[in-house]
């Protein structure tokens, strides 16, 4: 502000045109004091017309009044419009530049004019910035301006947009902050893109460009408000790259929104907007249509693609964008431009750079790129066509750099691609008929153009990066130099050219290639040292006191020598680590060596190259370092210095440590072997386990088979028992075992039936036996009765006979008593007759005589009866004798029967023995079953114990019953 006052003071004192300042003062008073709107409006309009001429005066005197108008006269769009225009004229440096430049010139006194002449733009810039500071001092001024922008009137909105844009240009961060905290501030400004009036929409784009400049929070809000959609729509509507400056403005805004803003990039990707970029690059082959605007647009479009896949983005974000770009065909479209004809060189260059970053580190995209062919006849791989440009002196420098970048990106983390490139150089795979990448690189390496040398060397180095296989493969490459001479190895040829003392650029390139080649590859180191002239050359280079130009080469030579020490496996007697170190100490000196080594990193080109992967140089002479090589130097510098400064003792110690490490390694490898063996064993054991499991299963099936067999055995056993029962029909108590372990109901029922049968048989047999017994008893009774008249053991026949005899006897007794009675009656009658004869004479004697006759008849009858009885007795005695005979015969039969009984007893005991045997067999089998069950249990098979036990118990009980009944039988 002091400065401002100074400027103002100077003007006032000079007194040039005081009427202008006075007029402005009057107008300001009118704006401030007049109560009539028309008056105020006229005054503001007058101020507006003066504001370009008298920018300083109007700014200093009218600013507050104008801001007041914005606040108080919102209702009148006309006065607001004038006020905004006036403010814009005051604040904007553009307006000053366009209209008032000559005015300022004459306004100022000569001496100040001269000082301004030196930096007139800075002066006016300061003016704009300072007025802007005044404007935004009151934050509400910006808030008012934002609310004014909601006014639809063109004469309000348009100057409003321009004023705000101007404010943002002058005091970006502060204005951004004010807009950010005012509610819906950003959202309202986004609505400008929907304005149907193109002027406002386009100026809205410019406003948003300023608004989003380096403010991530605003960028995100703008993106949230569908900026991508709207901008892409506008670009499409305007005809993509064929559109005018509006497309350019949209693209610039898109770049603001996406560059370094990972959240917005993610949103852009997730919103499927990458796919919408593809039509941008469908430029066709019409060579006529390459207007300057189209070139600008396409350039910005390509840059936008690069923003999304920049190597500086988070790796995940870049790789997913790369994937989308391949999937939606964007990469393919870019490759079409790459191979098209008539594309302007700068577009082609940027396209190559873009393709580079789209494929960098993405295997799929790299593979696709390797497959792209140029539409030439015969078709050549795009890589070959590009390399041709790289080693072509006539191509523009930036294009050659772009091709190198493309080649580097193709090989970045692409072992497959590295192998393919190196393979084109190997004797076995060389295709003589067509130009290969390898041939081009070798051609470039040894051409007379130092730029080609450098590019080819760096390109070849990238084919070897972090790929020890290719480093060893490249050692096989032989070159045919001239006819008659023997072929020379590529490594040898590189050192030869190095020794020839060509341009610095060439030597730097070759040294970088050699350093990359030898790093981490002891075989290559040995190859290098094998050539006796190499080490002396390097030491000579390092130790010589050369000019500043040569410092870089000296540094690189020191690095190469250092690599030869650090990665030396001591396989060459003449150039062991120790010997090389001694050489440095004697010929160069450790201090000097490190100093020269330090030249590399201290070089200004080194730090530039270390910044980003893309090779970009302000001039071809500055092309000295490769980005990947700077990484390598960073890694190696410290370890090499360490290796050089290490004393031989330390070296020995290290050797020892290495040896012990090797021992450890050996131990480790031993253990690894052990582990491997154990692994194998484990595998074997696993197999055994599986076979065992299979076996186990087999066993289980066998067990079940055996169970079935046991069942069969049991059945057989039962069958045998039954047979035994059949054999020994007397033996009646064997059937109960049939129920042991009766698993199947059918069998049970069958067995029950058998039992029933057996029982029946048993009953039958018992019946028979009892019959036999009674018979035997009868017989013995008969025998006893017959022999000793004992009443025990009487047979029915005998008792019948005895009864008969008794009845006969009793009859006899009755008859004899009757006879006695009759004799007594006769005696009586005789006595009566004697008495009657005596008492009664004749008559009585007649009756007595008849009675006598009767008696005599009776006696005669009795006598006959008696004789018949006597006959009967005789008969009985005859009978008795026959019975006696019968008894004798019965005795003999009894004896026979007793023999038979004896025999039966023996048979019973025999069958008992047999049964015992069978019981033992059964017990054994039970044991077997039990053990098998236990086995099953051990194998995890569920075994129903209770059932078996129960059935076993039942069997035991039956056995007991059997024995009881047998005892009974006995």
């Amino acid at each position: 502000m002091n400065f401002l006052r100074g400027v103002m003071g100077g003007q006032q004192s000079s007194g040039v045109q005081p009427s202008g300042a006075e007029t402005i003062q009057k107008l300001c008073d009118r704006v401030a004091s007049s109560t009539l709107l028309d008056d105020r409006r006229d005054a503001v309009r007058a101020l507006k017309s003066l504001s370009k001429k008298y920018r300083l005066e109007v700014g200093t005197q009218a600013m507050d009044h104008l801001l007041n108008v914005l606040q108080t006269d919102r209702a009148d769009s006309e006065i607001i419009g004038y006020a905004l225009d006036t403010l814009y004229n005051i604040l904007s440096n553009d307006a000053e530049e366009a209209v008032g430049h000559s005015r300022t010139w004459s306004l100022l006194p000569r001496d100040t004019a001269e000082s301004e002449e030196e930096n007139p733009q800075a002066q006016t810039d300061d003016l704009g910035v300072q007025f802007t500071e005044m404007f935004i001092k009151q934050q509400e001024n910006v808030t008012i301006l934002l609310s004014i922008l909601e006014e639809f009137d063109f004469h309000v909105r348009w100057p409003g947009v321009k004023l705000l844009t101007c404010l943002l240009k002058q005091q970006g961060p502060q204005v951004q902050q004010i807009i950010l905290v005012s509610p819906m501030g950003v959202s309202r400004l986004m609505d400008l893109l929907d304005d149907s009036r193109e002027v406002i929409r386009n100026d809205g784009l410019l406003l948003l460009q300023q608004l989003t400049k380096s403010n991530a929070a605003i960028q995100k809000i703008v993106a949230f408000e569908n900026a991508f959609e709207r901008l892409l729509d506008i670009i499409t509507e305007e005809g993509n790259s064929d559109g005018g400056i509006v497309v350019e403005d949209c693209l610039l805004l898109l770049q603001n929104l996406l560059k370094y803003n990972n959240s917005n990039q993610n949103f852009f990707k997730e919103g499927s907007y990458i796919q919408r970029m593809k039509p941008w690059f469908e430029v066709g082959d019409d060579n006529s249509g390459w207007s300057a605007q189209k070139v600008t647009n396409l350039h910005l479009m390509l840059q936008l693609v690069r923003v999304l896949v920049s190597p500086g983005n988070p790796p995940g974000a870049t790789s997913s964008c790369q994937k989308f770009m391949y999937q939606c065909g964007l990469l393919q479209q870019l490759c079409i431009i790459l191979m098209a004809t008539g594309v302007p060189a700068d577009i082609l260059t940027e396209t190559i750079n873009t393709v580079s970053e789209v494929i960098r580190g993405s295997q799929v995209n790299q593979d696709y790129f390797a497959s792209v062919n140029a539409p030439s006849n015969p078709p050549r791989p795009a890589i070959v066509v590009l390399l041709m440009s790289m080693v072509n002196e006539r191509q523009p420098f930036v294009l050659r750099c772009a091709v190198l970048y493309c080649f580097q990106c193709f090989l970045y983390k692409n072992q497959k691609g590295q192998g393919e490139i190196v393979a084109t150089l190997l004797p076995s795979t060389i295709d003589a008929t067509s130009l290969s990448a390898g041939q081009l690189l070798c051609g470039g390496l040894f051409s007379t153009d130092s730029l080609s040398n450098w590019c080819a060397a760096v390109a070849l180095a990238h084919a070897l990066l972090e790929n020890s296989t290719q480093k060893e493969q490249l050692l096989r490459v032989q070159l045919a130099t001239s006819i008659g001479n023997p072929p020379v190895s590529l490594l040898q040829q590189c050192t030869n050219i190095l020794a020839q003392g060509s341009k610095v650029q060439t030597r730097v390139g070759l040294l970088m290639l050699l350093c990359t080649w030898l790093t981490n590859c002891p075989i290559a180191v040995t190859h290098f040292l094998h050539n006796a002239s190499n080490v002396p050359f390097l030491t000579a280079q390092i130790s010589e006191n050369l000019g500043e130009e040569e410092q870089l080469v000296q540094g690189l030579c020191a690095l190469l020598l250092g690599i030869c020490i650090y990665y030396n496996d001591n396989s060459l007697e003449s150039n062991t680590k120790e010997k090389l170190k001694q050489l440095i100490e004697k010929r160069i000196g450790k201090e000097i060596f490190t100093e020269k080594l330090g030249f590399i990193t201290k070089h200004e080109f080194y730090s530039k190259a270390a910044q980003k992967p893309q090779p970009s140089f302000s001039s071809p002479d500055h092309m000295m370092f490769d980005h990947e090589f700077t990484k390598l130097v960073k890694e190696l510098e410290a370890v090499i210095i360490k290796a050089i400064y290490k004393s031989s003792e330390e070296d020995k110690k290290e050797e020892e440590v290495k040896k012990s490490l090797e021992q450890h390694d050996n131990i480790i490898s031993h253990y690894k072997n052990v582990i491997r063996e154990q692994d194998l064993q484990l595998e074997e054991l696993k197999q055994t386990v599986s076979t065992l499991q299979a076996k186990n299963e087999q066993f289980q099936t066998t067990v079940s088979q055996q169970v079935a067999q046991i069942q069969q055995h049991k059945d057989q056993y039962n069958l045998l028992k039954v047979q035994l029962g059949k054999d020994n029909q007397h033996h009646n108590s064997h059937n109960s075992n049939a129920q042991i372990n009766g698993f199947q109901s059918e069998e049970v029922s069958r067995l029950k039936e058998e039992i029933e049968e057996l029982k029946k048989q048993h009953d039958l047999l018992q019946g028979e036996l009892s019959e036999k017994n009674t018979l035997i008893e009868n017989l013995s009774c008969n025998q006893a009765a017959g022999q000793t008249e004992q009443t025990t053991g009487v047979s029915e026949q005998v008792t019948e006979l005895q009864k008969e005899m008794e009845t006969l006897r009793s009859q006899l007794h009755v008859q004899s008593t009757e006879i006695n009675r009759l004799q007594a009656e006769r005696m009586e009658l005789l006595q009566k007759v004697e008495a009657s004869a005596t008492v009664t004479a004749s008559g009585d004697s007649a009756s007595a005589a008849s009675k006598n006759n009767d008696y005599e008849e009776k006696i005669a009858g009795l006598l006959r009866e008696l004789s018949s009885l006597k006959d009967e007795v005789n008969l009985l005695s005859v009978e008795k004798s026959t019975l006696k005979r019968e008894l004798d015969s019965a005795h003999s039969t009894t004896a026979i029967l007793q023999d038979e009984k004896l025999k039966l007893g023996q048979e019973v005991s025999e069958s008992k023995k047999e049964q015992d045997d069978l019981l033992i067999l059964l017990a054994d089998q039970d044991q077997k079953i039990l053990s098998l069950k236990n086995k099953l249990k051990e194998l995890g098979e569920q075994v129903d114990d209770e059932d078996d036990l129960e059935s076993g118990d039942a069997g035991d009980e039956d056995d007991l019953d059997e024995e009881d009944s047998r005892d009974d039988d006995m």
Partner: protein, 210 residues
């Protein structure tokens, strides 16, 4: 990539209640026990299926800190759904819900679906706010309620999907003006829309007059 609808969500609530973790669990299906403080807003996206339709969710996870409040307010207007999150182990985050809700209602469109999320349900032992209290608050203010755990992923899917279902139903009922993208809803490219050639031609005509 094709979708029937696109919904914009915002996640709001006090700092440290687990907003970013909820988003990370939903989009990446992982949990980060130590999460950096969100600066401003972070973006995340995922596709879901509702009623057999592919719906793309674009989610803006906002910073909970007071200093970012003015920035995060800018996101209310264009969102169709909001997840208002509090932490069941910190009562103050529950107490601040009213302020958040007022802020959201004031700056958003009236149809915005708000889901109240009670996060950290895995820390039952440290619970300070009962589930019933959250439910009561939701009922009182017409919100959907859900207890979640970004750590165990419990209910996280449901929270985002149920909000989408609610929005989807509102669309079916015709509550939302789906042609106004300021509502946070966009119809997918395959749906019948004013043909792409229509505005294209109109734009060209407009361009020629200037």
């Amino acid at each position: 990539m094709a979708y029937a609808y696109l919904f914009k969500y915002i996640i709001i609530g006090d700092t440290g209640v687990g907003k970013s973790c909820l988003l990370l669990q939903f989009t990446d299906k992982r949990f980060q026990p130590v999460h950096d403080l969100t600066i401003g807003v972070e973006f995340g996206a995922r596709m879901i299926t509702i009623d057999g339709k592919q719906i793309k969710l674009q989610i803006w996870d906002t910073a909970g800190q007071e200093s970012f409040r003015s920035i995060t307010r800018s996101y209310y207007r264009g969102a169709a759904g909001a997840l208002l999150v509090y932490d069941i182990t910190r009562r103050d985050t529950f107490n601040h819900l009213t302020t958040w809700l007022e802020d959201a209602r004031q700056h958003s469109n009236s149809n915005m679906v708000i889901m109240l999320i009670a996060n950290k349900s895995d820390l039952e032992s440290r619970r300070e706010v009962k589930k019933e209290e959250g439910e009561a608050f939701a009922r009182e203010h017409g919100l959907i309620f859900m207890e979640t755990s970004a750590k165990t992923a419990s209910n996280v899917e449901e929270a985002f999907i149920n909000t989408a279902k609610e929005i989807y139903e509102k669309i079916q009922e015709g509550v939302f003006d789906i042609n106004n993208e300021a509502n946070g809803i966009k119809i997918g490219p395959q749906n019948p829309m004013p043909g792409p050639t229509g505005p294209h031609n109109a734009g060209q005509a407009g361009g020629s007059c200037c």
